[in-house]
Symmetry: C2
Subunit: 221 residues, 2 copies
């Protein structure tokens, strides 16, 4: 059993936005992260917070809005997620209470006991992401492991996803039952389909899918 | 930009529990997942739901409680997360409304538009997890990529984390400022510390850390 019950998931941010209170360096890095996943972000540069120079990068960014205003709880309205990074812990905790009162998911930066979620170190290619977490134990280690994964899994994983989507359409057209399709995919997995794709390329892999499909429909169709 | 704004994070389930409504096969797999991360789970085997035979595995499990009872919204009280899998979509959505009303994070199984979060395919060794997501596009592909990652990253990654924790204590004892330590870790990362650890083992890697630490304190101490 894990001693840190931190569950790796993907948060659904469709039609949802994030608010970041504070505009210093930690806020900058969280903005980079959220924007990389296509999430709309409002950054509140409140009185107490220094503004990181690098926010100028986002000047005309379609996802990022920088608001220079004193903090008030009304600024949280309508957002799904709050990242709190004013640079002053007491202020952070007061804002945290407001955000929890409004039912937002909260991350007080670098303060695990005050976080509903932790950002992971990740590799992303298109919609495929590989995320590394050590439950906050060692950001240095998660970054190192992430680098290692990034060196092994490049943009080809997005192309691989494309193959699977194409094959899925094919399988769906020939096997009607959901549970049969699940079974068929398990067999392909045991047959090493992904190794074939990685090592021999999409055409040979597609032939394997087609051959298995013929066998399947012959014996059970 | 990702067309699916699904953010990979780790959810903090410390002192928090999950409730699963329904006890069929999807509920069984979610129970396995949550228990693997050390999360307390109450499974509600309500009238409408079949009970998967495999729930007998959890009979004396310290984290899993199976409750045979008709569903009522009071069953959601006090939980942080609800997984809804009764086997009947209309019932699922009614329960979803209750759960949202109580501010729980919700996952209606296999129904992305009704999910606040998606479980990832993952490899876990101790507190280190590597999670794969395709934003729900292809579970077949994420499972295949996860298998590939599992073959490359075994239990040694938990031992690697142990090394980093030991080195962190060492670095902390010799470099006082947080920002200096961050800088020092970035240098170690550029110097290929993790490659040295993977390829030459913990002793040679520790020597690298110590040598860099001596150089650092000589030039800046």
């Amino acid at each position: 059993m894990a001693s840190r019950p931190y569950l790796p998931v993907a948060i659904n941010m469709r039609h949802r936005s994030a608010v970041i209170i504070g505009a210093g360096e930690p806020a900058y890095f969280k903005t980079l992260l959220l924007a990389d996943f296509g999430i709309s972000i409002t950054v509140i540069a409140c009185d107490i917070s220094d503004i990181d120079d690098r926010f100028s990068e986002f000047e005309n960014h379609e996802l990022v809005q920088l608001v220079r205003r004193e903090y008030g709880p009304d600024l949280l309205h309508g957002h799904y997620m709050a990242v709190i990074a004013t640079g002053d812990r007491e202020t952070d905790y007061a804002i945290e209470a407001d955000a929890r009162g409004q039912g937002l998911l909260v991350n007080v930066v670098d303060d695990p006991d005050h976080c509903d979620f932790f950002a992971s170190a990740y590799v992303r290619h298109g919609v495929v992401s590989v995320a590394v977490s050590s439950g906050g134990a060692s950001p240095g280690f998660t970054a190192a492991l992430k680098d290692d994964i990034a060196a092994r899994y490049g943009p080809e994983i997005e192309a691989h996803l494309g193959c699977y989507l194409e094959w899925r359409a094919l399988v769906r057209s020939q096997i009607q039952q959901f549970s049969d399709r699940e079974h068929f995919w398990r067999e392909l997995r045991s047959a090493g389909l992904y190794d074939v794709l990685r090592e021999q390329g999409p055409e040979i892999a597609r032939e394997l899918v087609e051959r298995r499909l013929v066998e399947w429909t012959k014996t059970r169709g």
